[in-house]
């Protein structure tokens, strides 16, 4: 089923915005954050107008209602990723906090000096820095699955690394720079065979692909609402129950406890054990509305639409003289086009495109080591989501020609 783009674009008020007189927004920056449909904006608005109360501890009507909404969202998010239980869905602020939760709780309880963690050269800083910190603190070792020149993970090198018996393999499901969709289930399976557990950074896969925790079999999976039509301020760590149950708590405070004495406490059961203090209640409810929205369109349809746009974009961009694209061919990647233009700094590309309302991102996209690997400090990145059209790709291409002219 193809998406009804006209209808969909009407769901997103911002897409109709005039940035300046005569300049309409062309939003090609969904990899950084996605826009929000009315269904999500209004769910949160309604929460604050009708149901707002703190959760779990209140017996009054509002508290019962807000608790039911908050926990109901968790159920639907669990279903969206096909988790076996909502207890495995832990609310965090974002992907970054979810990965840090694993680094602080699981890793500090289980990793000692010399233990090996395998990452990849295409990781986002969020899946690098927590491990750098642990390396400095604990003396764990880090190794990296190399990225090939065409932007794929070198699986042979991975298999060789696995002989060193890692304790954890932590990698991104989809690169936010190259767009590469990694063979996540295979990487997880190989990790398990080698006796390691596996964390999948799903920041870019949960928004764009149908993900299924049963098929993926990852031990941990982290993702952010804001990249999948949901609000800022909320993300999820999914984990296997046995792991989550044996992990020590991370943040201490209200709600994550079963009992508190003056000098000691007992932790609450899952998922509350990892949710300290008043959570992002409205945001969880907004996240629930976002997965409802995505489900109503169908993740397969969304992926197919993005693929079509992305394929078209690759074709058109490759025709531009002096433009170099990074990453694999369109069949191996999601809707991300990162490129450099001869003689023009990516910031300037983005800035000049912005004059025509075209929003692309420029910089290292929180993946400095990957850029270093390709010996460039920065790229310009256009990215596509369920609301983007081929006409927008045409505007992008036209804009790039204008950039070339200015700096020609």
């Amino acid at each position: 089923m193809t998406l009804d783009l006209k209808k969909i674009r009407n769901d997103f008020p911002i897409l109709g915005r005039q940035l300046r007189p005569g300049v309409r927004l062309t939003y090609l920056d969904s990899t950084a954050t996605a826009q929000k449909p009315l269904q999500v904006i209004e769910a949160m608005d309604e929460f604050y107008r009708k149901f707002n109360a703190n959760i779990h501890r209140g017996v009054h009507t509002l508290a019962e209602e807000s608790t039911a909404l908050y926990e109901g969202a968790r159920e639907r998010i669990a279903k969206f990723i096909n988790a076996s239980s909502a207890r495995q869905v832990i609310y965090t602020r974002n992907t970054t906090e979810a990965i840090n939760l694993v680094a602080y709780s699981w890793a500090r309880a289980n990793l000692k000096q010399g233990d090996l963690v395998i990452l990849t050269e295409m990781e986002h800083h969020s899946n690098l820095v927590p491990w750098h910190m642990l390396q400095a603190e604990r003396g764990i070792e880090l190794e990296f699955i190399p990225v090939t020149q065409d932007g794929l993970l070198d699986l042979d090198a991975y298999k060789t690394l696995l002989e060193r018996q890692p304790k954890l393999v932590s990698f991104t499901h989809m690169s936010n720079v190259l767009g590469t969709i990694n063979p996540a289930a295979e990487i997880v399976h190989l990790a398990h065979q080698a006796g390691s557990i596996a964390l999948v950074d799903g920041a870019q896969s949960a928004p764009h692909l149908k993900v299924d925790m049963q098929a993926l079999d990852a031990d941990f999976y982290a993702f952010s609402a804001h990249k999948m039509c949901g609000p800022t301020g909320i993300g999820v760590l999914y984990g296997k129950t046995t792991l989550l149950e044996t992990m020590p708590p991370f943040l201490g405070g209200g709600d994550m406890i079963r009992e508190v004495k003056l000098r000691s406490f007992r932790a609450n059961s899952l998922p509350h054990k990892f949710e300290a203090g008043t959570p992002a209640i409205a945001e969880a409810i907004g996240f629930g509305a976002a997965v409802d929205y995505l489900t109503s369109l169908g993740m397969d349809n969304i992926a197919a639409h993005e693929h079509e746009i992305s394929e078209y974009a690759m074709e058109r961009l490759e025709e531009i003289p002096g433009l170099k694209l990074f990453g694999p061919s369109a069949d191996k990647k999601g809707g991300v086009a990162s490129f450099i233009l001869d003689g023009v700094h990516p910031h300037d590309v983005a800035q000049i495109l912005d004059q025509d309302g075209i929003a692309v991102r420029a910089g290292h996209h929180c993946a400095q080591p990957l850029h270093e690997k390709f010996q460039i400090p920065a790229t310009s990145r256009a990215s596509f989501y369920l609301y983007n059209t081929k006409e927008e790709v045409d505007l992008l291409v036209k804009g790039i020609y204008k950039v070339k002219e200015m700096f020609g």
């Binding site: 779990h56 501890r57 209140g58 017996v59 508290a63 019962e64 209602e65 608790t67 039911a68 926990e71 207890r87 406890i257 079963r258 009992e259 609450n268 059961s269 509350h272």
Partner: protein
Amino acid sequence: MDDLYREVIIEHYKNPSYRGKLDPHDISFADNNPLCGDHIQIDLQVSAEGIVTDARFDGQGCAISQASADLLLESIIGKTLEDVKKINKDYILDLLGIELGPVRLKCALLSLKVLKAGVYGLQEAGDDLVE
């Protein structure tokens, strides 16, 4: 006047039949409701055939939690431990004869969680016991 405070609930709260402790007992377990700090202890006497022959609860709690403990213990005397393991949320709601939101549900289910944790010999009365 209100469903939640049906006469039977107020009655079991004010005049519980199974309040107290059993000494000796075959099974005894206690835990808290993490939401409100209410505490409940349940003692069971069990026959050689695995049949509950007597039961008592002790602790503090609201009308809902106390009444549901009293009704629950009343209903399991004469049952086998295997039968007790099968009791779930709906069973309690049937006993109480009321609808409950997510927070008050925890009050109603505390005694069942403690009972089942005791019967299974667990460390803690987790939420999964009553799902």
